[in-house]
């Protein structure tokens, strides 16, 4: 499913990061993709199952959730953090600022693919 990906701050992400980045709370609040309930339905997956988010930069497996605020079909939200960074392009178009919002992406159901914890994700990132 083609979507527009927005990343951003969420209260859960902020609280998770100050509580500890290796805690379950951080993982639960940050390794997530929030979708419109109708989009979730059309992917044919249940809440809490995994989805794969893919952009021209790469892909990442995260947990699917219903948008906690502001559901909108075709727009998905991922909190700032190492998981969404896996799909953020590094071009800054001469400004120093990469595109962290409004990115073309594709979301697919991935109920059998593994969600990596922070340590495994960083290892995966570093190995390229």
């Amino acid at each position: 499913m083609k979507v527009t990906l927005l990343s951003g701050r969420s209260l859960g992400q902020a609280k998770g990061k100050v509580t500890g980045k290796f805690t379950e709370e951080y993982l639960r609040n940050v390794a997530v993709c929030e979708l419109d309930p109708e989009d979730l339905k059309s992917l044919g997956i249940a809440l809490g199952q995994n989805v794969k988010v893919t952009t021209k930069t790469g892909s990442v497996v995260v947990r699917a959730a219903v948008a906690s605020q502001a559901a909108r079909r075709g727009v998905v939200f991922m909190p700032y953090g190492p998981w969404v960074n896996m799909v953020i392009p590094s071009e800054t178009y001469g400004t120093g600022m990469p595109s962290l919002k409004g990115i073309e992406a594709e979301v697919t159901a991935a109920p059998n693919e593994k969600l990596l914890d922070l340590r495994s994700l960083v290892g995966h990132m570093a190995r390229g």
């Binding site: 951003g8 960074n85 120093g96």
Partner: protein, 438 residues
């Protein structure tokens, strides 16, 4: 357990977001933070969990794993890495004190390379816009007392700055605006956020449509006709109504977030927003202010500008400061693979930078100074645990509106930990010795 001491410390400054609320009441029992009153839920999490997940001794990497080492050894390793690097990057600075930024800038002058702060991935485009257009601004106190129209654009403070609306804008009690009914609140966003739910009006815009909508608003404010029926997903009559609301207010303000800086247009979005406010001041009193994220990102800009003349992305490799965002900015220098070493202070770039940038960081020696383990400490060569500004150590900071504030410690740090300033000064002393020896 016997309670040896318990006290409530009033008026503590929160060192989380750029709003830096200064009304926390922190309960300290037996030298530990027990509770926080008056703060938001993020503030409570920060203060109560400050001691969770901490390294208590410096670490260095041996055979691919981090091992404990002495403070002196970690200082010597760090100085060696930085002194021998051809083009190091010194990054972070937004969640520490002004004094630490000052020490970092002196270190950068000695080692060359680039010094950049987290502005680069939040409001960097805002500063570029301000260079072009200028900014009509004021203190948050002025806004609290006088604003009758508050617009949040591309910002969701209920999540990012949880007490901002209550302390400084629509829900605050000001001298001349006594209650919520004395103010109109508008939210412009691509999503109907929790902040939008507090607003009198919500205007939903298409993703990447801010520049178009802002241009249309400028036209409407000037009295020009809008030729399209719908602009950036917003009906033309709605834009004209918003323009009328802006012109007819007594004291308006736009608080804008990274919804403007991180999307298509970037600094051009800011140019047009600043220009809109400049136009509005021909008709009424209007202000604009970025919603700065980290508690001292504004201070990192201030200190960098005092010392080098530039607020971020400063290249000192030629022996004098150069500033060319898009070239000397952290994401660009790292994505190009230019840097051969990094010093990270009070930041977690691996959690904030695009994957390609983090991948380069993972290939070069990284020294990290941070109170807590993070994605960046996992790839670091040297890790210094440090004290937490505003909880265990004091220091100067700047609030998002540029008001200078001094933070004070509420508890003592764990034994043996040094502050960011002490660590940076000790690395600098060693770097000087190495450089003079050369």
């Amino acid at each position: 357990m016997m309670i040896l001491s318990k006290k409530i410390i009033p008026n503590v400054i929160c060192t989380f977001c750029g709003a830096t609320c200064d009304d926390l009441q922190v309960t300290v029992e037996n030298g530990k933070v027990l509770n926080v009153r008056s703060g938001c839920s993020t503030s409570l999490s920060k203060f109560v969990n400050y001691n969770v997940e901490r390294y208590l001794t410096p670490l260095v990497k041996k055979d691919g794993e981090l091992h404990e080492t002495s403070y002196e050894d970690a200082i010597a390793r760090s100085a060696e890495i930085l002194a021998n690097a051809k083009y190091p990057i010194l990054y972070g600075w937004s969640s520490t004190s002004n004094e630490a930024s000052r020490a970092g800038l002196e270190l950068a002058e000695w080692v060359g390379g680039v010094i950049d702060n987290t502005t680069t991935v939040c409001h960097g485009p805002t500063l570029l816009g301000v260079h072009d257009i200028g900014e009509v601004s004021a203190s948050l106190g002025e806004i609290r007392h006088r604003a009758d129209l508050v617009i949040y654009w591309g910002s969701n403070p209920v999540h990012s700055h949880p007490h901002h609306v209550m302390r400084y804008s629509a829900l605050s009690k000001g001298r001349f605006r006594l209650s919520r009914k004395d103010r109109t609140m508008v939210v412009v966003d691509v999503r109907k956020t929790d902040t939008a739910k507090l607003a009198d009006q919500f205007i939903q815009i298409e993703p990447n449509g801010d520049y178009e909508l802002m241009c249309a608003l400028r036209m409407a404010v000037r009295g020009d006709d809008l030729e399209q029926d719908v602009i950036a997903g917003v009906p033309a009559e709605r834009i004209e109504e918003l323009a009328d609301l802006m012109i007819s207010c007594q004291f308006g303000v736009i608080f804008f977030g990274v919804g403007l800086t991180m999307t298509q247009g970037r600094h051009r979005n800011i140019d047009v927003a600043l220009s809109l406010v400049r136009d509005l001041n021909a008709r009424t009193k209007f202000l604009i202010m970025p919603m700065r994220g980290w508690y001292n990102v504004a201070g990192a800009n201030q200190v960098s500008a005092w010392v080098t003349g530039y607020p971020y992305a400063v290249d000192l490799s030629q022996g004098y400061p150069r500033y060319n965002p898009g070239d000397t900015t952290a994401v660009d220098v790292l994505a190009r693979g230019d840097c051969d070493a990094a010093l990270v202070v009070a930041s977690d770039p691996v959690s904030n930078f695009p994957v390609e940038v983090s991948r380069h960081l993972a290939k070069i020696p990284v020294i990290t100074i941070d109170p807590h383990p993070s994605a960046t400490t996992l790839i670091s060569e040297v890790v210094f645990p440090t004290t937490i500004v505003g909880i265990e150590t004091g220091g100067g900071i700047y609030r998002m509106d540029g008001v200078a504030i001094v933070t004070k410690p509420v508890v003592s740090p764990p034994p043996g930990l040094h502050s960011d300033v002490e660590i940076l000064q000790d690395i600098l002393t060693h770097v000087k010795k190495l450089k003079m020896g050369q």
